[in-house]
């Protein structure tokens, strides 16, 4: 079943000066896909994710969401960056959860979720509050809606951050190592939330070091190696019968047994 892809990355290149971090990545996702990106640090997986919502500018190639070119367009045969306003609108097509949560410390949990709803979706405060409470309830934190980030544990903060992103009803959710900054005993509460979203058919692209989780939750796994996609496919195939030497070695050294 191949319909129009929700995400289509073609020949993505990213350079920092002389260093090429992404050396031509091609990848596409269908609605409802849950794709985990694995790979050692420096392989370019986080950079790729951040190009999708233009937190990183990219040097060449194209990224399309629902057929819409992200960030750049061809004008008179030249590649030009879209206007800041247009890029801001396109960023709202995706939602992102970060390794460091990045909640706004001066706002309560509910206000964190409401900000985008009011400013970007132009909801009234009452509408936004209702949506925020619905999503805080979904991540199990309705009772903490008036707490400030400084009053919440890391796991709770990350769940609020996920609610903040999901409440904007993005077409694609991006997760950037969302459990890496958490104490081990708090990892699971966040993974459970993501697993629920996967079950409900949310389209998600996750960069993760949780191999067991990637194995269980994803419909497809991408292994990145030195700025390229080294191998991709069905998680069971990839984890149990890796084709490339590189992936086999990476899995041996990671926490997946």
């Amino acid at each position: 079943m191949t319909t129009n892809p929700i995400l289509e990355i073609r020949n993505l290149h990213k350079r920092y000066g002389d260093v090429e971090v992404l050396k031509g990545v091609d990848c596409s996702m269908q609605r409802g896909d849950v794709v985990c990106v694995i790979g050692s640090s420096g392989s370019g997986k986080t950079t790729m994710l951040r190009c999708i919502n233009m937190l990183e500018e990219f040097s060449d190639g194209s990224i399309r969401i629902d057929g819409e070119d992200i960030g750049y367009e061809l004008r008179d045969g030249r590649r030009q960056r879209k206007s800041e306003k247009e890029v801001a609108r396109q960023r709202a097509l995706t939602g992102m959860a970060f390794q460091q949560f990045n909640l706004f410390p001066h706002m309560s949990a509910a206000e964190n979720v409401m900000l985008g709803l009011v400013k970007v979706k132009k909801m009234t405060r009452d509408q936004a509050r209702a949506v925020a409470e619905k999503w805080l309830d979904r991540v199990g934190l309705l009772s903490r809606r008036d707490h400030y980030p400084g009053q919440l544990s890391g796991g709770q903060q990350q769940r609020v951050a996920i609610a903040r992103a999901i409440a904007m009803s993005p077409r694609l959710m991006l997760f950037d190592e969302v459990t890496s900054a958490l104490d081990p005993e708090l990892v699971n509460e966040v993974l459970v939330v993501i697993q629920d979203l996967a079950r409900e058919g949310m389209t998600m692209l996750l960069v993760t070091h949780e191999m067991r989780f990637a194995f269980e939750v994803s419909t497809r796994v991408i292994f990145m190696n030195q700025g390229r996609i080294g191998e991709e496919g069905d998680p069971k195939e990839m984890f149990l019968r890796p084709k490339s030497e590189r992936l086999a070695e990476f899995l041996k050294n990671s926490s997946f047994h």
Partner: protein
Amino acid sequence: MDFSFAQFLHELWIARVPLLQGVGITIASAALAIVAGTVLGVFVGLALTYGAAPLRLAVRGYTDFIRGTPVLVLVLASYYILGTAGIQLGPLQAGVLALAVFCSSHVGEIVRGALQAIHKGQIEAAKAIGLTFSQTFVSVLMPQAIRQILPTWVNTAAEMVKASTLLSIIGVGDLLLASQEVISRTFMNMPFYLFAGFLYFAINFGIERFGRFVERKTHIPS
């Protein structure tokens, strides 16, 4: 010379109107300079933090130049030099302009420091939910920066009240000049200087209490 306290009260009562006017001018000129200087200073801070290189360099030059110049020189320059350049300002206008410019360079530096101290993840999170830069600034950066700026800003405001005494030199009838005029008439140096000092202290004490009050009101629970 020895004066009794009753005599002082008597002279104070006679001089009550000019002294009150002096207090009014001191407060008004300092307040105007603080407000204008703060508004201008926020833009200076923004330019220093997020401006493109040419703008940043120009504004950096402005702040360094202003901060390296004594306020008295700024006051005299804005009164006399602008006058010869054809921009004729009254003493009060020229004085407030000089104080505002001085204030803006300090506030600019404070704002820059506060903005740079905000973790860049804050901007990224705001971008990720689709906020434009101006929305990010208003809802995410400014509220955090203000909390951090507040104590230093209160200091700057108190400095401006003290710096406003320099306006007496170009003939602005502020509290200091009004007191000096009373002294030249009564020869009661000590009591009237002490009294003026007490009033300056009271004004700055009020600013400081106000700052504490706002700090308490905007405290983020954690």
